[in-house]
C-alpha cells in the first residue's frame, strides 16, 4: 500500500473519533509545549547570564597574589605585584592585548554639597577595553602624559550623585581632599549579575593612586585582556611565565592566582545547565505520559476495530499492511501534537518574555529534537498496539462482535 493511501486511511480513522483523537493529541501538545518552554527558560537565563558576563569583559584575566597557608593561618603572600610586572606583561605577552593594574581606595567623592560613596580605582587606559567600558563624553587619560595627574573619568552613577545638573566635564571633584579634574564620563552599563553597580566607578591613573593616595609601590591586582575567546589558558600560562621569570621563581607552587572570566562563565552556566536539565526532564516526563495516552487509545482502537482488521486481512491485507496502518495513526497523532505543541511552546515563551520580562530563548535545537522525539514517541507507543493488530487471526477477528 502506498504511503499516501496509508495516510488517507489513517486520517479518516482519526477523524472518525474526533474527540478521542483530540485528547490524545492534547497529551502530546502539553508535553511538547512544556519541553519547549522549559528549555527556552533555561536557555534564556543562561544567555542572559552570559551577556552580563560578556558586558564585564569576556576575555578578562585577573592576577592577584597567592595566599600562603602557614600552620592553618592564611597569610598574605610574600610576593607582591608591582608596576614593573605590568610593563613586563605589556611588552612581552603575545596572548594579551591589554593590561592594567587595579588599585582601589575607599572613600567619598565630594562636589559642593553632593557626595558619592564610590571607591576610587587606579587603572591604566587599557582597563576600559578589558572591562568593556566606553567613553561617553570627554577623553580617557593617557598612561604616559597623565602619569600621576590629578584627573579622573567617572561613571554615570557618580555623574548623577555629584552633578545632578549634568555637564561634569572640566569640573573638579574632591577625593580625600585631593582635587581631581573630570576629563571624561563613561557610558552606562547597568548593574552586573552579582548586583554590583558597574556605573558607580571613578577611574584615575594608577600612578596617581600609588603616589598621592596610598604611597606604595604594591599593586593589589592586575587585569589583562586575552586576545580572544579560547585564549585564556595560553594567556594565563604566559603571564605566569613572565611573572616567575622576573622573580627567578623555582618553587613548585605558583606565586600568584589567576582568574579568567571564561572560568567564571563556565562555573555560572554549569549551574544553570543543571537547572534547565532538571526542568527539561520534568517536561519530558509529561511527554512520556502523553505517549502512554497514545498507546492506551491505540489499544482501544485496535480492539474496537477488530472486525475491520479481520475484513482487511480476509481481502488480502498482510500483517505488515495492518501494522503500518495503525502505526501511521499513532505517528500522525504524535506529530500533530508535536507541531501544535511547538507552536504553543513558542507562543508561551514569548508571552512569558513580554508579560513577565523573563529572559526566554527558544532554541532551534529544542524544536527539532522535540519533533524527533514526537516521531519516536508515536512509533514507540504505537508499535505494540499495531503489532497486536497485525497478529490477529483473520477468522477470530471476523467473528469478533
Amino acid at each position: 500500500m502506498s504511503p499516501l493511501t496509508l495516510i488517507k486511511i489513517s486520517l479518516r480513522a482519526l477523524l472518525r473519533n474526533r474527540m478521542r483523537t483530540f485528547l490524545s493529541v492534547l497529551g502530546i501538545v502539553i508535553g511538547v509545549a512544556a519541553v519547549i518552554t522549559m528549555v527556552a527558560m533555561g536557555e534564556g537565563s543562561k544567555k542572559s547570564i552570559k551577556e552580563q558576563m560578556t558586558a564585564m569583559g569576556t576575555n578578562a584575566i585577573i592576577i592577584m597574589p597567592n595566599r600562603d597557608r602557614r600552620g592553618g593561618v592564611q597569610m598574605e603572600s610574600t610576593e607582591s605585584l608591582e608596576e614593573a610586572d605590568v610593563i613586563a606583561i605589556r611588552e612581552n605577552a603575545t596572548y594579551i592585548n591589554g593590561v592594567s593594574p587595579m588599585i582601589t581606595v575607599g572613600g567619598q567623592a565630594i562636589v559642593g554639597n553632593n557626595n558619592s560613596p564610590t571607591a576610587l580605582s587606579g587603572v591604566s587606559a587599557d582597563y576600559l577595553k578589558i572591562r568593556n567600558y566606553e567613553i561617553e563624553d570627554g577623553v580617557m587619560f593617557d598612561d604616559q602624559a597623565d602619569r600621576m595627574a590629578k584627573v579622573c573619568v567617572i561613571g554615570q552613577t557618580v555623574v548623577k550623585n555629584l552633578f545632578p545638573e549634568g555637564d561634569p566635564i572640566g569640573k573638579t571633584i574632591r577625593y580625600k581632599s585631593i582635587p581631581l579634574k573630570v576629563i571624561g564620563t563613561l557610558k552606562a552599563k547597568g548593574s552586573g549579575d552579582f548586583g554590583q553597580d558597574n556605573d558607580d566607578v571613578i577611574f584615575t591613573p594608577y600612578q596617581t593612586v600609588m603616589k598621592r593616595f596610598n604611597a606604595t609601590t604594591n599593586i593589589r591586582q592586575i587585569y589583562a585582556n586575552s586576545i580572544g575567546e579560547g585564549y585564556a589558558a595560553q594567556a594565563t600560562e604566559e603571564i605566569m611565565g613572565i611573572l616567575k621569570e622576573r622573580r627567578s621563581w623555582t618553587k613548585p607552587t605558583d606565586p600568584f592566582r589567576v582568574f579568567t572570566q571564561e572560568e567564571m562563565i563556565q562555573m555560572v552556566t554549569s549551574t544553570s545547565d543543571m537547572l534547565s536539565l532538571v526542568l527539561t526532564a520534568i517536561a519530558g516526563i509529561s511527554l512520556f505520559v502523553g505517549g502512554i495516552g497514545i498507546m492506551n487509545i491505540m489499544y482501544v482502537s485496535v480492539t474496537e476495530r477488530t472486525k475491520e482488521i479481520g475484513l482487511r486481512m480476509a481481502i488480502g491485507a498482510r500483517g505488515r499492511d495492518i501494522l503500518l496502518q495503525f502505526l501511521f495513526e499513532s505517528v500522525i497523532i504524535s506529530l500533530l501534537g508535536g507541531a501544535i505543541g511547538i507552536a504553543l511552546g513558542i507562543a508561551a515563551s514569548e508571552t512569558v518574555k513580554i508579560a513577565m520580562n523573563w529572559p526566554m530563548s527558544v532554541s532551534i535545537t529544542s524544536v527539532i529534537v522535540s519533533f524527533g522525539v514526537c516521531f519516536a514517541t508515536g512509533v514507540f507507543f504505537g508499535w505494540y498496539p499495531a503489532r497486536k493488530a497485525s497478529r490477529l487471526d483473520p477468522i477470530e477477528a471476523l467473528r469478533f462482535e
Binding site: 500500500m1 502506498s2 493511501t5 486511511i9 479518516r12 472518525r16 472486525k307 475491520e308 475484513l311 482487511r312 486481512m313 480476509a314 481481502i315 488480502g316 491485507a317 498482510r318 500483517g319 505488515r320 499492511d321 483473520p394 477468522i395 471476523l398
Partner: protein, 249 residues
C-alpha cells in the same frame, strides 16, 4: 479440464484443552471453472471450517489444497494474504462493509493491497464491479444509507473487483428476507452465467436449488456431492413470490 480448486483428504483438528475436535475428517472434492457449488451442512458439520480453509484463512492439519494450480498447505501468512488478495473474493453473511465509507471506496478496498494497481485503475475497476451488481448510481452512498440487499450487493462488487478465480460466499443471504435473498441469488446466477466460479456455503435447502451442484457435509465428512438436474431460475422464483405486503399507516 483442470479443476480450479482441488482438495484431497483434508483434515482439520482443533485442540480444545485436553480434547481434540476433529472438524474435518478427510474430505476430498474438486471444483471446476464455471461451476456454481453450494456447500451445505448443519451447524457443526464442518462447513465453516471448510470455508476458512478454502478461503486461505486457515490451514488444514493434513491433506492437500491446490488452488489455481498452487499448493497452499505450506504457505506462510503473507503468502496466504497474497492469494486472498489476488485469487479469492469473499462475501460474508453480515456484509462487513466499512462504516462511514462510501460504496465505491468499500469496493476499491481489496485493490489497495495490490501495489501493482494504480489509483485510476482501482477506481475504474470498482465502477465496473458496481455496474455488474447494478449499484453504480449508489456508489457515493455510505452503508447506512443503503438497504441490506444493497449492502450485500456492494459486498459482492467488492468480491468481484480483483477478478478472483473463485468467489466464496458465507451464508450470503442469511441476514436477508426471502425476496432480497432471491435478488441476491439472481446476481450470483448472472455472474455464474458470465463464467464466474462460485462456492456458496448455506444451510438453507431452497438456496441450494439455485446452484448447479450441492456438496453436503456432516460430522466432518463429505456426505453427498450431487449435480442438480433442475437448477431453479432465481429470477423466475423471485417473480413467482407474492408481491410485498403494503402497510398502511
Amino acid at each position: 479440464m483442470n479443476p480450479i480448486l482441488s482438495i484431497q483428504n483434508i483434515r482439520r483438528d482443533f485442540k480444545m484443552g485436553e480434547e481434540t475436535v476433529h472438524a474435518l475428517r478427510g474430505v476430498s472434492f474438486d471444483i471446476y471453472p464455471g461451476e456454481f457449488v453450494t456447500i451445505m451442512g448443519t451447524s457443526g458439520s464442518g462447513k465453516s471450517t471448510m470455508l476458512n480453509i478454502l478461503g486461505c484463512m486457515d490451514k488444514p492439519t493434513s491433506g492437500q489444497y491446490i488452488l489455481d494450480g498452487e499448493h497452499t498447505e505450506k504457505l506462510k501468512r503473507d503468502a496466504l494474504a497474497r492469494i486472498r488478495s489476488q485469487k479469492l473474493g469473499f462475501v460474508f453473511q453480515s456484509y462487513n462493509l466499512l462504516s462511514r465509507t462510501t460504496a465505491i471506496e468499500n469496493v476499491e478496498l481489496p485493490l489497495l493491497y495490490n501495489s501493482k494497481i494504480s489509483a485510476a485503475e482501482r477506481h475504474r475497476r470498482a465502477i465496473e464491479a458496481l455496474k455488474m451488481v447494478g449499484l453504480e448510481s449508489r456508489m457515493n452512498h455510505v452503508p447506512n444509507q443503503l438497504s441490506g440487499g444493497q449492502q450485500q450487493r456492494v459486498a459482492i462488487a467488492r468480491a468481484l473487483v480483483n477478478d478472483p478465480v473463485i468467489i466464496l460466499a458465507d451464508e450470503a443471504t442469511g441476514n436477508l428476507d426471502t425476496r432480497t435473498s432471491y435478488e441476491i441469488m439472481m446476481i450470483f446466477q448472472e455472474l455464474n452465467r458470465q463464467g464466474k466460479t462460485i462456492a456458496f456455503v448455506t444451510h438453507e435447502p431452497d438456496i441450494a436449488t439455485f446452484s448447479g451442484r450441492t456438496i453436503t457435509l456432516r460430522d466432518g465428512l463429505l456426505k453427498k456431492d450431487v449435480k442438480n438436474e433442475t437448477v431453479q431460475d432465481a429470477k423466475a422464483a423471485f417473480e413467482a413470490l407474492p408481491p410485498p405486503e403494503e402497510f398502511e399507516e
